[in-house]
Symmetry: C2
Subunit: 258 residues, 2 copies
């Protein structure tokens, strides 16, 4: 139950061992251990994790050290602190962060408002080479291809082409997608145990191809944003590749620099 720490337990280490190039502070090791428990599902999304005092006892370190570990997990959005209540495993379901990864904002800066999702299809097929590469898969590994359309106030705004490793999403069908109300990533974490942690996006301006233009209800050739997203789970393992086309006629892609 109480995993002992290899290096840097409170009262060992006298002089660094020979050939020890990989030094890491205690709180980093604790962070890694907590992260492992998160990954293994010891605490599920939305649940509380043990209190700082309990974790300090479990790992045999001071509360301050656990605190620093949890601080980092909180700034990485893996965990949410709530004073007086505890620390909770982050979720894509909560209202505050429901659209954490969607940077599209309506022009007037009004809150996004309700969004309709229409799933066009969900097919199992052989992945193009570039998809294989982006998802770290091997030739022959099956993938799921999902297409969907997001609309705001009845107007289509985002057309997504999504690629998923089939091995991780067994039983995902167009029906199942259509039945589900709520963010895709909430479904993924609840039904398939796949948690989306962070993502990288490559944004370009392109001319809308005729077929896509029809779905987006714009003229073929209209400039639209192409947003290529690679989504990663624990340990930076890629688990989704998605190409989105955004109609930016009355919305924009918002970004903060610092």
């Amino acid at each position: 139950m109480t995993a002992a720490l290899p290096p840097h337990s409170p009262a060992d280490d006298a002089g660094n061992d020979a050939a020890g190039p990989a030094f890491s502070p205690l709180y980093q090791q604790i962070k890694t251990l907590i992260m492992r428990s998160l990954q293994e599902g010891e605490w599920k999304p939305g649940e509380v994790i043990p209190s700082e005092i309990e974790l300090a006892a479990r790992y045999r370190v001071s509360q301050g050290t656990v605190r620093k570990a949890i601080d980092e997990l909180a700034t990485e959005n893996l965990v949410v602190r709530r004073q007086g209540k505890g620390t909770f495993v982050a979720t894509h379901t909560e209202a505050q962060v429901k659209y954490r990864f969607l940077r599209l904002v309506p022009d007037g800066d009004a809150p996004p408002g309700p969004m309709e999702r229409r799933y066009i299809d969900c097919r199992r097929l052989r992945a193009p080479a570039e998809v294989l590469r982006a998802l770290d898969l091997r030739a022959g590994d099956p993938v799921l291809q999902v297409r969907r359309l997001l609309s705001f106030q009845g107007k289509p705004v985002v057309l997504d082409l999504i690629w998923l490793p089939a091995a991780l999403f067994k039983g995902l069908t167009a029906e199942r997608l259509s039945e589900y109300r709520g963010p895709l990533y909430a479904l993924f974490e609840a039904e398939f145990g796949v948690r989306m942690i962070r993502a990288e996006e490559k944004v370009r301006a392109v001319a809308a191809p005729p077929a896509d233009a029809t779905l987006l209800d714009v003229a073929p050739g209209t400039p639209v944003l192409s947003v290529e997203r690679r989504t990663l789970t624990y340990g930076d393992r890629p688990v989704e590749l998605r190409q989105g086309l955004y109609n930016t006629a009355s919305h924009y892609y918002r970004n903060e620099l610092s």
Copy 2:
């Protein structure tokens, strides 16, 4: 020299005063004081600030409290910590963060390489209403309008239209811009004492207008990224508005989500 702290000095506050809604922890107050010194130029960009121990003595708090204040300043990129050397006021000159605000990356993920800046013109004129609003200026306040072209390997990639409050940039001319080698924001902080801290960007896909297309060396109507940036200095005061057109044929706008 040693400014005394109004509330929450180490040994006062017994029971919250009546009508005291604006509680803020000590380290936040320290952070504010340090930020004020930065803003007032007590320590200039690139210089060391006093050590944690000195600051702790100056503000009459513990080193740990100063540390927490500086930690936040460091994560906001106002300050850079260097172990064994000290804490330094952040700069737009350092190589590591020279292109902190430029998210454009060449397709092959190769490092950006050298960049040529060509300043087209720098004019003083009356600002359009939307520029006034974005910069929090009053009708009649003069502004500078700068146009410039960024090229990579001889190919034009970014066309910027920049608006600046003339009051803050007295004496800025096209010649002065052209003579300067290095990032624009480095010039601003060195010559005009205006430090760019953070920015908000609105990204859209648009058809390149004919005149701009010529400068960017693309066909008129080509889809290009429109990047509208509002840049802020201390206290979130807006000091720049810029509209960039990015040719994303062989570059992309990179973003990280978390």
